[in-house]
């Protein structure tokens, strides 16, 4: 089954970037708590059942932090 992995060491400034969030057509990726200090600004694939595997998030990521695992 398709899976999206986001490398947290490479994705540093998620809240200022948000390119993958904008690129995701199906709304799979969500921002984990943009307010709280815990889990601040982490991006996570949540509703994977909507993912079509288009790979757009992987393509737009400037830090190359996103990989798709088949």
């Amino acid at each position: 089954m398709l899976n999206i992995k986001i490398d947290r060491n490479k994705c540093i400034n998620a809240l200022d970037c948000l390119k993958c969030i904008d690129a995701c057509r199906s709304g799979v990726l969500l921002v984990l708590s943009p307010y709280a200090e815990v889990a601040k600004g982490r991006i996570k694939p949540v509703i994977m059942s909507m993912c079509t595997g288009c790979g757009e998030c992987q393509r737009v990521c400037p830090a190359k932090a996103i990989t798709m695992i088949k």
């Binding site: 969500l30 943009p34 307010y35 509703i47």
Partner: protein, 273 residues
Amino acid sequence: MCELCIKHGEGKKWYEVMKNYSKELYSQNNVEQFMKDFFLNFHKEFNGIIKLDAAKRKRSIVYGFIRKMATSHMKKNHFGQIIPLEDAEMIIDMMQSITRVPCICRGLTRGEKNARYCFAIGVDPSPSDILGDYPHLKENLETLTRDEAKKLLRKFDQEGLIHSIWTFKTPFIGGICNCDRDCLAYRIQVTADLMQIMFKGEYVAEIDLDQCVGCRSCQKLCQFGAIEFSSSNLKCYINPMKCYGCGVCRSACNKEAITLNDRNQLPELAGVW
């Protein structure tokens, strides 16, 4: 009548009953503590969604069961219903305090910290400690007068945003939201169909075919894909099974061909929520 009307409506629509906004209910159910935990742990709810979603993807036999459990959990704690503009305005008229707050859903789905689309009603979040751990949320509160709130609601309506009411520890109603695809409830219920988090409105829209000229402008505003077009007779039709009764389509119609009817008058539709 929806389930909540039967349980908490006293013969009326449940959101018309003043008791469901009362301070007594607020303190009796310890809503303040619930709200505090709710806002603080909002991101933890994701773990539940991920599990539910995984069960759906694997076509697991337990999916139906988890879905039911999750829905009943939401019904007890944080459930919503779509309401048309008139009902939202009626609620505003009943309220003593209206505070405009940044939308938490849009924070989670778009990373937008200050998308101020939601109204806290009845509870004033600024003096209490509900938003204590969210300094950014707290800074951007704005107290609205009734007229200001109604003006904003009408503006949102024309932009095609759907209005919904939300409970915190059902039946206490604590907020009116103006949603689109970035609403987490919409995404989970309508886009992904993982579970039920909100009821459809008490209404269903209907197009007067004599007045409809087939301009299709209503179709652009419908968030639920309920409006269909027939090119052979140049008319739009509303699919009553898909219609949520939000009434947003009416603002786009130049011919005033769209009306909202009571859902309960149609025997087969009365059970579709």
